[in-house]
């Protein structure tokens, strides 16, 4: 017989088996993967990825995402510029989708991760009734959808390269893809156990 407290139980992020939290080195009893073993630097890894993502997000908004070469004239449009152009042209749903996917989702994800990372270190919003687990789950589900814009650019660039009209991806595509990639890494590196400790 072993005695366990209920809040000592943790969920393996890989195989979802319930494990007993043994402190420093947790190895999942079912799949053998280590469960957040970086106890000495709990949030730093996640912070590093998040900051990289935010840095990459700046050029993603400043440089052109899409470059249209039409009869010799080259025209670049940034993410926001593309959204405004679509809106003016009357394709409101598409403008809204792009706006949500490439501006609202990344920014809210940055903010949520920021909030989570700060709140597990400092007793911020301790008594507020925010379910941080749900917040974290939301970022994991919604996060990948910000890749839409990069895919759209890739499709348009592959589809339209004629003699007179050509669409090429811009510098922002790289920056944006990297930004999304690093936010996903930041979310994965986040130690869910810390939420519980600071509840």
């Amino acid at each position: 017989m072993i005695e366990v407290k209920e809040d000592e139980l943790i969920r393996c992020p890989i195989c979802e088996a319930v494990n007993i939290d043994k402190g420093k080195e947790n190895e999942c009893r079912r799949c053998g993967s280590s469960i957040y073993k970086h106890q000495t630097f709990q949030t730093e890894k996640s912070w590093a990825f998040l900051i990289t993502a935010i840095i990459a997000y700046i050029p993603a908004n400043l440089y052109p995402m899409l470059i249209t070469k039409q009869f010799g004239a080259t025209e670049g449009s940034t993410i926001l510029g593309g959204v405004i152009m679509l809106w003016e042209r009357g394709s409101y749903p598409i403008a809204a989708i792009i706006f949500f996917a490439s501006i609202v989702i990344p920014v809210t994800k940055f903010l949520i991760l920021f909030y989570l990372l700060i709140s597990v270190k400092y007793p911020l919003g301790k008594d507020k009734k925010v379910n941080k687990h749900k917040l974290y789950y939301m970022t994991e589900v919604v996060g990948p959808w910000s890749m839409i814009d990069v895919f759209v650019v890739a499709i348009l660039a592959a589809l339209i390269h004629l003699a007179n009209i050509e669409i090429v991806a811009g510098t922002a595509a790289t920056a944006f893809a990297l930004s999304v990639f690093f936010t996903l890494l930041a979310a994965h590196a986040f130690d869910v156990r810390l939420i519980k400790e600071n509840k």
Binding site: M1, I2, E3, N19
Partner: protein
């Protein structure tokens, strides 16, 4: 809380959404158990999980092959015809020098979806034949690592967005691959929603526990 030994932990489930602890109960074949706090499905019980999973993943692989080999969309601008396939979208990025984006895209929309369904079919086949205890474990760990990185569904929506952007400039014809991709995405969503990784682990435990009674 008292437990007999560590294996008794298998009778507990933690909700993946709100982290509420539950005790696992036996449920009827074909039914599901939901979280009492947030209503998320915790697990399902399907006595023929291996067969269903194998059938679904093979079907998904077939649709995936069709979606990749045939043209996705064809457009006509000023008398010129152009078509794309899925591999062409990221190869095009490579050609224009966008190696990083090309690499990321090829993994997200081609390599990972292909790997996921290959792993699914191999794992279900192993479980059905009751062999490969170690291999199935490693494949399942790999599967959970790459699951969040598969973005076929997002790619499908992107195609629609790109096409709406082109309306008015070009004539658009949908190819066979487009419908195959829709079928693939629907299967992908169905499989990832209904077959939880933890259920495959539970099945694996049942399969290999019967093999060697201690």
């Amino acid at each position: 809380m008292k437990l007999e030994n560590e294996d008794a932990l298998d009778n507990l489930v933690i909700c993946h959404r709100c982290h509420t602890l539950h005790k696992e109960i036996t449920i009827e074949d074909g039914s599901k158990a939901c979280c009492r706090e947030c209503g998320t499905v915790l697990y399902r019980y399907d006595s023929r999980l291996a067969e269903h999973g194998l059938a679904l993943s093979i079907a998904a692989l077939i649709f995936f092959a069709v979606a990749n080999f045939f043209p996705l969309v064809k457009i006509e601008i000023l008398g010129h015809e152009q078509f794309i396939t899925i591999p062409k979208t990221f190869v095009g990025l490579f050609d224009s020098g966008f190696y990083i984006v090309g690499l990321i895209c090829s993994f997200l929309i081609f390599i990972f979806p292909l790997m996921i369904f290959s792993i699914y079919s191999v794992v279900f086949l192993l479980l059905k034949l009751r062999i490969g205890e170690k291999l199935s474990k490693e494949l399942l760990v790999l599967l959970s690592h790459i699951m969040p990185w598969s973005m076929s569904d997002i790619f499908l929506i992107s195609i629609l967005v790109a096409l709406v952007k082109l309306i008015g400039y070009a004539q658009i014809h949908m190819g066979i691959a487009f419908w195959a991709l829709i079928a693939f995405v629907l299967l992908d969503l169905y499989v990832t929603r209904t077959i939880h990784v933890s259920e495959i682990w539970m099945l694996r435990k049942r399969v290999f526990l019967k093999e060697k009674p201690e």
